[in-house]
Symmetry: none
Subunit: 198 residues, 4 copies
DNA sequence: TATGAATGAGATTTCATTCAT
DNA sequence: TATGAATGAAATCTCATTCAT
């Protein structure tokens, strides 16, 4: 009988295998042949599971964000302080342990800006909407716990977008940016205005 | 008799000639052959003036931002209201008259994120630093005129980065974003907090 | 209980199932996947019964020629006129009812000219030798019945080869060839020279 | 200024350079990369001048037949005997010096039978029509010189087609065929019937 | 024995970049 | 300086054939 293959899983496996080389060389310096080799599959197999090189980045980002999400959820569950939760939430943009995913995310944003697949834009939209919901939960809870003034609720999306702006800004200029500090200042400022309880 | 060619000018001319097709099709869908044709020069000539396809985008953005700067400076000179000045400053990110340059700017950001030339990053850094200085001038003057509370000074860069974040966010998701409204709300919020004088 | 499969029969069945699509699209435009589908078997199964795509054409031609042979033998048995027999013999090359087999035969000849399997060449040789024997029988009988002058015996192979030449010629040029007429003229000419009795 | 290239000539040059390897390995065993290498050009260049591997064979055959034609014309001019002329005319099909071109011609016929380009069929048609005209000239002259009975005129095409039939027959069967002898016998027979003068 | 996923060779295409003129 | 033919690397695509199950 024929081999039954979990197409979704195999797509994931290939993407995971490709991560390192894309991270270290950059997408445009990596060839499909190379990706096939590091994934231990044939070139034809790559095109069975991906429609283009960009599609591989898509899957890589999807896989890594899924992992990231699980990690974040656990961290957030083990944290009670609203401020800490917010910091955990935003460490994607500066923590050194996420260098790889940030690198891939940059490739992903570049593709999204110029040659997006519909599925990519849909995915990215959903991710960001979800993250904003997360952040709203954190803030809501903070408000419920009287850590944060209820006026802040409207600032959630703004906060998220600012974080991403910081990331892009620091990634496209020579200007040195300490994203963590900037974010903390920003949050602090807002929190101050918003009367976070000491 | 040898024709004397102003290299800088010709580089500009070619870039300007290429603008429309890059705008309408996107850089990756346009070939050098096509660019050479619309610029009315040979393919080889392109490489006399540009080191790569990306370099053409660089020049295009440089030319358009230079024009944009002149336009903005005039507009700002003809405006006294601090709030209006801020709005004029940020209309790059939403005014329909700047659709083209925003489109090109997206290409430029995509290149900057993945395969930047040093000259591009330097240029982009300088541009943004300049714009932030502009904005600081606007804010400073607003403070001097007692339109704005002096605490806001530290918020200048933050404002700029938020604006860019909004732009990237709206460019990479399906989420409809009314950038103008968002910016105005944000500015309003800050101004409110910052006690902009009515 | 294990299913007992007659390998020879299954090979034939698959080939027969593939006939139509090869006829209508041409071998090189048909994929093994497609052949497997129309034959209602898996791609791997094809290779249980055939050593290559070409081998399928081989079987198809073998099956069709076997059917053709039976048909011809019956027709020849029901005919007494030598001239008619000769016409029946050659109608392979022009009768519209044999369009399909001629189409396949072209594929077969193309393979034989460039990448023949030994078995194919052996088969083709045997077929042609047999056909020439048939024709010799027809002619011999014609001679015995005093329909044909005995000198013609040496012309048998020539006649056959001329017929095939006509077929290839008409298949590879735009020149319109009425094969039936040409053959009849030729036979007539020879018969005339050869004093076919009226 | 740009290099001016004689496209027709370059197409010819590439085809000529590819001749040997196609002859020795057979078309299907040769890759485009290999052909590019032996022609000393890039793969991209191949596709500048040819639409497919088959198209290269087309040009190769065209070039070789052009050369062959010149050679034949010279030989025929230097010959007065009608019989010799006929022999010269047909030596394409058996003379050992034409092994290569016959090999290529086989590839060409195989393509013509299954996947012809219109240009190929047109070319082949024109070639054969021309050859038949040549042969008619030879025969006509033979008739004028009273070497050949005037009735033979109608046999010209038949003669040509028989020759090609012989070639295909001998190329697709194991049956050993001495094409030269067969042709001579055939011509002799016809000449005998046609009262070639001794 | 039957299968279709996997393979990988190779055709085809694309095109940024180079370079001879 | 200007040019476009040539290049060749790599993407994309196709698919006959293999092979693990």
């Amino acid at each position: 009988m024929a081999i039954i293959v979990d197409k979704e899983q195999k797509r994931r496996d290939i993407a995971i295998a490709c991560k390192d080389v894309v991270f270290s060389k950059g997408l445009s310096k990596v060839t499909i042949s190379e990706l096939a080799k590091v994934a231990g599959v044939g070139k034809g197999t790559i095109y069975e599971y991906f429609c283009s090189k960009e599609d591989i980045v898509f899957e890589m980002v999807a896989v890594m964000l899924a992992e990231y999400d699980i990690e974040k959820k656990q961290q957030l569950e083990n944290t009670t302080s609203t401020k800490e939760k917010i910091e955990i939430f935003f460490d994607f943009f500066y923590d050194s342990k996420y260098i790889e995913i940030r690198q891939l995310y940059k490739e992903f944003v570049a593709i999204s800006l110029t040659n997006p697949l519909d599925a990519m834009t849909d995915f990215l939209t959903k991710c960001k909407d979800d993250y904003i919901l997360w952040l709203e939960d954190i803030i809501s809870e903070g408000i419920k716990n009287n850590d944060i003034n209820k006026d802040v609720k409207d600032m959630v999306k703004v906060l998220f977008i600012f974080a991403e702006g910081l990331f892009i800004y620091s990634s496209t200029t020579n200007t040195p940016v300490d994203i963590k500090k900037e974010l903390n200042d920003y949050i602090g400022l807002i929190c101050c205005n918003m009367e976070i309880k000491k």
